[in-house]
Symmetry: C2
Amino acid sequence: MADGPEEIGRLIGLMARLPGMGPRSARRAVLHLVKKRSQVLLPLAEAMKAVGESVRPCVACGNLATSDLCPICANPKRATGTLCVVADVADLWAMERSQAFQGRYHVLGGLLSALDAIGPDELGIPKLVARVTEEELTEIILALPATIDGQTTAHYIADALPELNVTSLAQGVPIGGELDFLDDGTISAALRARARV
Amino acid sequence: MADGPEEIGRLIGLMARLPGMGPRSARRAVLHLVKKRSQVLLPLAEAMKAVGESVRPCVACGNLATSDLCPICANPKRATGTLCVVADVADLWAMERSQAFQGRYHVLGGLLSALDAIGPDELGIPKLVARVTEEELTEIILALPATIDGQTTAHYIADALPELNVTSLAQGVPIGGELDFLDDGTISAALRARARV
Ligand SMILES: [Zn+2]
Ligand SMILES: [Zn+2]
């Protein structure tokens, strides 16, 4: 960067690669960071380092964790028997914010996609099928996006578990919509009105 | 955060305080960081630490620097005699991107504002007046926003330097517009068509 220290140019370049950021917003953010050195910049650097060193996927569900099990899987008060399947950790968080579900989760880490060559093995669907037996599950609730890939994935899971009650969030999820955009009330309503796939 | 490790909640809270970010975009950014641990998260933490430890204001102009003088002030090829006065470092960078100005800068760090109780001393205008004598300046170009506060500041500086040729970016800067939003061509045209205040 011709107009400032290279440390600043490097930081702007990295910030600009965050989702929702571009070169201009990255420049603004970095100038803000420099002005708020002790209040924001240094705490943010420390918080990123701490996350980088301690956060990893929960071995049971795929949520983010700092030990083998995430707080949800480690919580004995969470209901067993019913599992909520989500595409991504952001969707798990959206479900949790709605406070409408008291059980445990299974994070697929994506959706089936012929275009992106993502098949059942990439999503760990065999692992999900194994959990059904191991944990004596009685119901799987699919909280997947109302997209083509989401519906393909839902049908694949329902077909893979013919003896199980596989339901899906139904009423309230807009066509083409993503869970993380929904308000808590919509998610609660969709959960109550879940229907068999 | 009930639905994940507290390290994640803390990082989201800090990210959400950046300009242009909110809770939702901060969550998305943090999930992206966790997924790109070695490519983005750890380099970003390091880059922030490096900026926090090494970047400070240039003692001469107020631009960001890693030594006493910024690269512009330290560059013997930059023209002396003419100084460009900007409100903020972001505006200095916008001027530099236009490549239309070959001299040095003076960063005010804001604009005169009765509402925010920002007076000439808060902006270091006495220091600017001192530079005029010390550096034997012949012209000061004001590259300030075309806002009420920007015009107030421009007139104050022109009045404080009655013997000096004080000009201002004129043609091309939209009313109410901020420099950092302009394209390079507009900035170049405004510089060429500068007029006495
Ligand atoms: Zn878990
Ligand atoms: Zn300087």
